[in-house]
């Protein structure tokens, strides 16, 4: 995995270098973008709602015992926007979108479609990687905004309805508004932007590397998803440290 880091960086810089061609490929960017939304929006909602809920459920009774139950809004708010939404959604997208990028590009590699592009003087990085990387880099932070809002809602609902906690909506969000700064949300969005680049580059790189027929495609998909998740979790620590 790590010996490929150099190649991935190269792919990344080449894709960045092709950014001026973005307008020409706008249709493909939109297609990818809607693909991402279509495939993940519902999952993002369900996942975020329950993540918010479980954080409230776990912390609520402890806060009640210590007599600081009103701070649950801030606690859930921070946990969701700075850590859980960006990381969980990036992992979800690695599984949902990273895998399909690796599979799609991998099968194009194996069935010589990429060779065919090259014979037509069409650069596979411009044609395949650029639209995918741009759409995921824009799409994932947007999904994370969505996830944060739904996650807060889930936390608030559990805090309100669970009779061991009993913090109503109004005081939940009042505390959340007092505690969570706009920079905390920006912090989480920045993380998710970095993770999006990781998912895009790792998956496209893995797809382009595919060799050896249909089995190779399967191997590429597995590798892409596993490598994305490992890199997200490791990077998460360092990014958090950096942004602290």
């Amino acid at each position: 995995m790590f010996q490929n880091l150099g190649e991935m960086l190269l792919l990344f810089t080449r894709t960045l270098g092709s950014l001026p061609l973005l307008w020409r490929h706008r249709q493909k960017v939109f297609d990818q973008f809607f693909e991402i939304g279509n495939a993940s929006l519902f999952m993002v909602c369900v996942l975020s709602f329950f993540i918010g809920g479980v954080i409230a459920l776990l912390t609520g009774p402890v806060l009640v015992d210590h007599g600081v139950k009103d701070s649950i809004g801030g606690l859930v708010g921070i946990a969701i926007c700075k850590e859980l939404a960006p990381v969980m959604m990036s992992i979800l997208i690695a599984g949902r979108i990273g895998s399909s990028m690796a599979a799609e590009i991998g099968s194009m590699r194996v069935y010589q479609e990429i060779d065919a592009l090259r014979t037509m003087n069409i650069n596979p990085i411009h044609y395949l990687v650029l639209p995918r990387l741009v759409s995921i880099a824009v799409g994932l932070p947007l999904l994370v905004i969505f996830s944060i809002l739904v996650g807060w809602g889930g936390g608030a609902l559990v805090a309100d309805l669970n009779n061991k906690i009993g913090v109503d909506f109004r005081s939940f969000f009042a505390n959340l508004r007092d505690t969570v700064r706009i920079s905390d949300v920006a912090n989480g969005l920045f993380k998710s932007f970095v993770f999006a680049l990781v998912v895009g580059v790792v998956s496209c790189h893995q797809g382009l590397q595919t060799i050896g027929g249909p089995r190779g495609i399967g191997r590429s998909v597995t590798k892409a998803v596993v490598n994305c998740i490992v890199m997200i979790v490791i990077l998460d620590y360092f990014l958090t440290r950096l942004l602290l």
């Binding site: 020409r24 194009m108 479609e113 065919a116 014979t119 069409i122």
Partner: protein
């Protein structure tokens, strides 16, 4: 139709030759091409024949820069195929053995891909050219189908249409008539031959169909286990005394074999 508006340099309307010099290539230690020297002249139809596994496809892939040689070089119009600006300078095309159509695009989008991606023509013009080329290969009205809905032979014909759209100065065909019924094979062979009359193009055709090869070739090369064993006009190759060449050219199915 000419691309005068988009390709202004004068060299784009003539056929270009290819020269292969001392080409060697191994995969995982197994030598596939063992020193190939060939010169394909501008405007000719050059057929490469040989048994399966002899390295024909690998040779063809080198000729359009898809593989990097271990040794030797490939010169298109005297310039190395590896030089980065070569593909911008000349219009080259390849018809893959499997067709290699983009499965996510329709037949029409595949055929028009070169023009669309390089923004060479307005959309209506592209649609017209696509229809015309598809009709030429006998696939009128398949524009909106996806490659997965086509048979192997139809895919190959679409791939040929896609290559013709480029108006190539050099076109490489990898077994263009295999997988085709004899009738379609004859149509495609005829199209390869007549292309030369319509546009200035050099054609390199890999084929093990002897009838097609001898029918259309200006010159023929026979490759065997990564070595060229004969090159010449069809007559010269037919008269070549080399036993491998004779065996390849004259072996026929013998269904009585089992009885003896």
């Amino acid at each position: 139709m000419s691309d005068a508006a988009t390709h202004s340099s004068p060299n784009t309307t003539r056929a270009v030759g290819v020269k292969v010099v001392g080409l060697r290539k191994s995969f995982n230690g197994q030598a596939v091409l063992k020193g190939i020297d060939l010169e394909v002249l501008p405007g000719e139809i050059f057929v490469i024949m040989g048994p399966s596994g002899s390295g024909k496809s690998v040779l063809l892939r080198h000729m359009i820069g898809l593989e990097e040689p271990d040794a030797g070089e490939i010169l298109v119009d005297g310039q190395s195929i590896q030089s980065p600006e070569l593909m911008d300078k000349y219009r080259l095309a390849m018809v893959f053995q499997s067709g290699a159509l983009l499965n996510s695009l329709t037949v029409g989008e595949n055929v028009g891909l070169y023009l669309t991606e390089h923004q060479l023509k307005p959309p209506q013009e592209i649609a017209r050219i696509v229809t015309e080329k598809l009709e030429l290969v006998g696939l009128k009205g398949t524009d909106d189908k996806f490659p997965s809905e086509l048979s192997g032979g139809m895919k190959k014909r679409v791939a040929i249409a896609r290559a013709l759209v480029i108006d190539p100065q050099l076109i490489l065909y990898d077994e263009p008539t295999s997988e085709l019924d004899p009738l379609s094979a004859a149509v495609i062979a005829e199209e390869i031959a007549s292309l030369k009359q319509r546009i200035a193009v050099t054609s390199v055709v890999v084929s093990h169909d002897r009838e097609v090869a001898f029918g259309i070739a200006d010159r023929i090369a026979v490759i065997h286990e990564g070595v060229i064993v004969a090159v010449g006009t069809p007559e010269e190759v037919r008269r070549n005394p080399d036993s491998i060449v004779q065996k390849f050219l004259n072996t026929n199915f013998n269904f009585h074999h089992r009885k003896t």
